[in-house]
């Protein structure tokens, strides 16, 4: 009996020891899970933050030297003001407890723990991306103060609400709308807001010339293509955080698929835009090719996790073609002045990417038309894209309308001719350089 008891005791001891040990281990492993998610999301967030620099460089490069400082200020400040308002309000509307249409809790991310801090960090840089897209379309003629007001509203209200529908557990999420990293949530929202902004502003002086009742479009050249190209490389670099980070988990291995489809989509987009511009204008156009890469990136953003490499290449190619014709159409037919092509790149190609999910989706959960999924997913995607378009067109339209009436949206003719750097900020961006200021 003593023997038995001894046995029993020893066995129990060993087991309890083991489980004790195992408990500790399990805790460590759980901590590692948290750490992997944390590291992945924070680094991805940093990469997405860096896209602000990319946007600033692209927009500066594709506009005139006399407005470069103003673009800096707009890009810096829409992030800064956006971050504060997204902290106070935006997060609450987007990820607070939901009524299907918007969230409403956690203002000032109250009571945040490490996980919530992490998630806010990852989300704020997306909000800022949506905001900053608009700046390009409104470049070279917008009052700085008006832009500041706008940027508070888009990051605080417009973006969070449609974002809630899709990423915050709202009605579109319920329906199965799939937008992995934000073709619609981020890019289309930015693009459609850009469209409204450009519409309310009107074109830059000298952009459209009326000769014998016919309006012709004139090119106003960007002043610094090297800067613009740097911006595109920075954006592409950041996009690995934007897309792959959107797994939202450091142990979700689809991040590899995402990285690959993102790379292929962007490459195909650049090549398609280059070829189309070559065929169409006789020369491989630099700024169109740059826009093509961005178009491919925007297009692949929604479907990146659910398509095959082949699918990604096709999506990119089509995005690259779309962007060239869209830029032409908006410029030559609609006569809307979008200095950097933001509406086409982010709005139109964002729409394309959203629909592409319904065409090229190749997973069990998200199966598109071409992969035997029928029209269901495509229909949901179209509905989602349309709803967001309507929401942004109305809300941003109203916003710009009110700003225009109450405060003025556009600088005076004299200020525009002199350049916003001097007139709005009292500075020159390239002091000492000789620049032909007539341009």
């Amino acid at each position: 009996m003593r023997y038995k008891i001894a046995l029993l005791v020893s066995v129990l001891l060993m087991i309890s020891c083991g489980t004790l040990f195992a408990d500790e281990l399990a805790e460590t492993v759980a901590l590692h899970q948290e750490a992997l998610d944390m590291i992945w999301l924070l680094l991805a967030a940093a990469l997405v933050f860096f896209m602000q620099a990319g946007f600033a460089m692209v927009e500066m490069g594709l506009t005139r030297a006399k407005n470069a400082g103003n673009i800096i200020m707009k890009n810096l400040m829409d992030f800064c003001a956006g971050a504060l308002i997204y902290w106070a309000l935006g997060w609450a509307l987007m990820y607070g407890s939901s009524n299907g249409f918007f969230g409403f809790s956690q203002f000032f991310i109250k009571g945040a723990d490490a996980t919530l801090f992490r998630d806010w960090m990852f989300q704020v840089v997306f909000a800022a991306t949506a905001a900053t897209i608009v700046s390009g379309a409104m470049a070279e003629r917008t009052k700085f103060s008006a832009y500041l007001i706008y940027s508070v509203f888009i990051s605080g209200i417009i973006y969070p609400i449609s974002g809630h529908w899709i990423w915050g557990g709202g009605w579109l999420a319920e329906m199965g709308f799939h937008d992995f990293a934000g073709s619609t949530v981020v890019h289309s929202v930015g693009g459609w807001a850009a469209l409204m902004g450009a519409l309310f502003l009107g074109p830059r002086i000298g952009k459209f010339v009326k000769v014998n009742g016919k309006t012709t479009s004139k090119a106003i050249l960007g002043h610094n293509l090297p800067l613009a190209s740097l911006g595109v490389f920075i954006l592409w670099f950041g996009w690995y955080g934007f897309n792959a980070g959107s797994t939202l988990s450091g142990t979700d291995m689809t991040m590899a698929t995402v990285a690959v489809t993102t790379t292929l989509g962007a490459s195909a987009g650049a090549i398609a835009a280059m070829l189309i511009s070559w065929i169409h204008f006789g020369k491989p156009d630099v700024s169109m090719s740059l826009n093509g890469a961005l178009a491919g990136l925007v297009g692949i953003t929604a479907p990146t996790a659910v398509v095959t490499p082949f699918g990604a290449v096709l999506i990119g190619l089509i995005a690259g073609i779309i962007v060239v014709y869209s830029v032409e159409f908006i410029d030559k037919v609609l006569h809307i002045d979008d200095p950097v092509g933001a509406i086409s790149v982010h709005g139109v190609c964002g729409l394309w990417g959203t629909l592409a999910v319904g065409l090229f989706g190749a997973t069990d959960d998200v199966r598109g038309l071409f992969y035997g999924g029928g029209f269901t997913q495509l229909g949901i995607q179209a509905l989602g894209a349309l709803s967001v378009f309507i929401w942004v067109a109305l809300s941003a339209g109203l916003l710009f309308f009110i700003i225009n009436k109450a405060h003025g949206l556009r600088v005076s003719e004299k200020e525009e001719l002199v350049g916003l750097d001097l007139s709005e900020h009292g500075t020159e961006s390239y002091s000492g350089f000789q620049i032909f200021t007539t341009m």
Binding site: V418, G426, T427, T437
Partner: protein
Amino acid sequence: MKLIIAYIQPDKLNSVKQELYKREIYKISITNALGCGQQMGYTETYRGVDIEVNLLKKLRIEIAVNDSFVSSTTEAIINGAGTNSIGDGKIFIVPIEECIRIRNKDTGAKAIG
């Protein structure tokens, strides 16, 4: 033949060109210049410190014309660049003794246009 040299505000180039075209004067050369005249320079501030920008950006236009075109050319410039405000600029007329077209060695009145 005269060489008409004019300093104008940069943002007036387009209207000057249009006025010249109306008078069928198509040939013109332009350089960037910094000028200092009656318009004593504005003061910008940069981080709150004054910069005396008493050298202002101007465009310098050169138009070589036959004597009969002098008055219509100056008229075009004045119409295009004048705003009745300080800084509008100046026109100087200098004699040209000879003019040669490099392409075919034409000289004189034939070469100038």
